[in-house]
């Protein structure tokens, strides 16, 4: 049986993890909006191409969240 926090950790972890892994460009744009105009869309709304290292870093964080979410989803059966 899931506890509330465990269930939230599973659902939100999987959802946020998928978002980070699939749309790293979007995540970077939202997290740097306002503070880093060089990472924001230019005059025509196009995001400048940045070093792919940033995107892989975001994907890495997303993968950790995804694995964590799956772990909490499976924990009642593991314990």
């Amino acid at each position: 049986m899931y506890e509330t926090r465990e269930a939230l950790a599973a659902v939100l972890g999987i959802a946020a993890g998928l978002l980070f892994v699939v749309y790293p460009r979007l995540v970077l744009r939202v997290q740097t909006a306002g503070t880093r105009p060089d990472r924001q869309p230019g005059p025509a709304g196009e995001t400048p191409d940045l070093s792919s290292g940033w995107y892989w870093l975001i994907r890495g964080v997303g993968a950790v969240m995804l694995v964590g979410g799956l772990y909490f989803a499976a924990r009642p059966w593991l314990l």
Partner: protein, 275 residues
Amino acid sequence: MGHTGLKIRMAIVGFILFAFYAVTAVAVMAIWGTGTLPLLLVGSVFLIGAQYKIGKWAALRSVGAEDLPEDQYGDLHRRVESLSKDMGIEKPRLMIASMGVPNAFAVGRKGAGTVVVSRELLNTLEPDEVEGVLAHELAHIRNRDVVMMVLGQGIASIVAIVAQWAVLLTGDNDIADFFLAIVVGNVVQFIVMLFVLAISRYREYVADADAKEAIGSGDPLASALEKIQRGNASAREDNLDNQVSALAIFGDGGGLASLLSTHPPVEERIQRLRS
């Protein structure tokens, strides 16, 4: 800022952001006591100030921006000086950088603004189109869009940090609490930013309208947007061909991207500029 639509939208979004901040303040006082309110207020000012200063410095440094030489770009300096005068602001510092794509952005505030243009932008656009783009960036400075976005991101960060600590401190130190705190922080920041980005998209329309008014026609900026969009589309196709950008595999997120975008659709902006 004489735009009624913008004022109404700013009032609504400002109220929502204030509500987020107020709930955060109440949560802080409930967890740590009422004496922590001054600390929250000072911490908020410090965080937002640091984001503004560091963000400006980092943005200019990351693109390697240099002052736009007056002897080489005297005409551009004169155009910006004239536009600034017409728009009632001080002439901002003009800088140039190589960004790989036609791009321009404004940092700083009214009276201490900086506009950076990319070499690619100057090479791609005609002088009147460059003027349109610069007028758009000057409008961002005049309308305090840069400051508003920093403020919005700052509030999102504060709400996210407090949400993380609230999850952490109300739990029982289980690993699920630590994990949930990290995820909740990110989710909360995204939710607050939805409102900030909604107003950001509207501010783009206002900056377009101001640029149109300042230069007497929307055509130069509309034409610049078309050219930049075409150039970027072609660059993106090249990237796809070469599989250089792993991001292109997934695209930009479709409908979600529109909701989380700082800019409205280019086609709509061009239509408004030419209407």
